[in-house]
């Protein structure tokens, strides 16, 4: 069924996209689970470390034809978990960033977050009951690459920014040294 194929591609690419986005800012985004304040710290920290890898695994399992059923079961479980966490967070009026895509998604958890999780859950539980068209290996590769592209773009941009900052600080330090030397000389007179 074409619709379910689209759903499977979306779900698979979404998990891969989300996993890569979190890995792209691993240090910052691994603490997002702790931000919900729902879990013991050790659990939140461990979960924060593992979730990007689990998402990549689920995405891959969903896209590979032979493993799509196990992938859909895991995806449904994850999506249900997201929906429950989102609902509890919303119910407690907590202003928490969703962290769905690492540091790129600064959006706070809202109704759309829960609706998306429920749509993911629905799509995931429907996949095993339909005869989804097989995806060719090349297609899987293309989908995975496209899903990873935003994370690659973000990482490149962050690295570029770090290089720029290093250069800027070096020039700023040189400028401060120059001004310090200027202060050692007599003032040439008021303008």
């Amino acid at each position: 069924m074409f619709v379910m194929l689209v759903g499977r591609i979306w779900l698979g690419s979404l998990f891969i996209y989300s996993g890569f986005m979190k890995l792209g800012s691993y240090r910052e985004s691994r603490g997002f689970l702790a931000g919900y304040g729902l879990f013991p710290r050790w659990f939140a920290n461990t979960g924060g470390l593992l979730i990007p890898w689990i998402e990549l695994l689920i995405g891959g399992l969903l896209l590979v034809n032979r493993t799509q059923v196990i992938g859909s079961i895991l995806a449904a479980t994850a999506a249900f978990g997201f929906a429950v966490i989102g609902a509890v967070t919303l119910h407690r009026h907590l202003q928490v960033s969703c962290g769905c895509a690492g540091v790129a998604s600064s959006d706070r958890i809202d109704v759309l977050t829960i609706i998306r999780a429920l749509v993911m859950f629905t799509a995931a539980i429907l996949i095993p009951f339909t005869n989804s068209t097989n995806i060719q290996s090349l297609g899987i590769l293309v989908i995975a690459l496209v899903a990873a592209a935003p994370a690659v773009l973000l990482t490149l941009r962050r690295n570029r920014y770090r290089r720029w900052l290093t250069t800027f600080r070096a020039l700023q330090n040189a400028n401060i040294e120059e001004l310090t030397a200027l202060l050692e000389t007599q003032a040439p007179g008021s303008s």
Partner: protein, 211 residues
């Protein structure tokens, strides 16, 4: 009467593009900001540390002290640095009035002075303020060496207690003259303003209070 306006091709493309991006953003959270995220690289240049002041007021300089030399200090902001010349007799405010020796690396200094042809600023004595800060609020209570105010601009309206400087004074807001009776003359509930020393860690110690 005409209720609709014709949509240009560009407008139509813009609406369609916006719709596609919004849909993608809903399907893939954070995608929009990942693809269009801007940082300070845009419009910035690594050669932007101009010596000459480019702000509207060339008689003012403010920034963190990043270097101290015999003839003055270098003040640095995130975008620029400027040399400020201090004469040995220049009076500096750092909770108390004193010499330029009070200034330390890392202090935040605000200066008024006379611009020099080499781009530096010759500080005017008495117009050099080190780590000066301002707070406003409503007086809740006071004692000989503490004052508690609410609505301190933090937005949460929580009461904050400040330790007072040993040399604090209470003045009339309208003419700056000292208020007879000092702190005791202020009734709880009155709006007050304070200037004082910003302390490390976000603290504040008032030196002058006006009502």
């Amino acid at each position: 009467m005409k209720f609709t306006t014709p949509l240009s091709r560009r407008g139509l493309l813009r609406v369609a593009g916006g719709g596609v991006l919004a849909t993608l953003g809903a399907l893939y959270p954070g995608l929009g900001s990942a693809l269009s995220q801007k940082n300070s690289i845009a419009g910035a240049s690594t050669s932007a540390t101009a010596v000459m002041p480019s702000g509207p007021d060339v008689t003012y300089a403010g920034g963190e002290v990043t270097a101290i030399a015999a003839g003055g200090v270098v003040l640095t902001t995130p975008t620029t640095s400027r040399a400020v010349r201090l004469n040995p007799e220049t009076v500096v405010w750092k909770e108390v009035l004193g010499s330029s020796g009070l200034i330390e690396l890392g202090d935040w200094v605000d200066v008024r002075g006379e611009p020099q042809v080499d781009g530096s600023l010759l500080a005017t004595s008495g117009m050099v303020f080190v780590n000066i800060g301002r707070r406003d609020g409503v007086l809740v209570s006071s004692s000989a060496n503490h004052i508690t105010v609410s609505g301190d601009g933090d937005g949460d309206g929580a009461d904050i207690t400040y330790g007072l400087s040993a040399s604090f004074e209470v003045v009339n807001a309208s003419d700056g003259t000292p208020l007879a009776g000092g702190l005791a003359s202020l009734e709880p509930g009155v709006s007050i303003g304070m200037v004082g020393l910003r302390l490390p860690g976000g603290g504040f110690r008032p030196t002058r209070i006006w009502a």
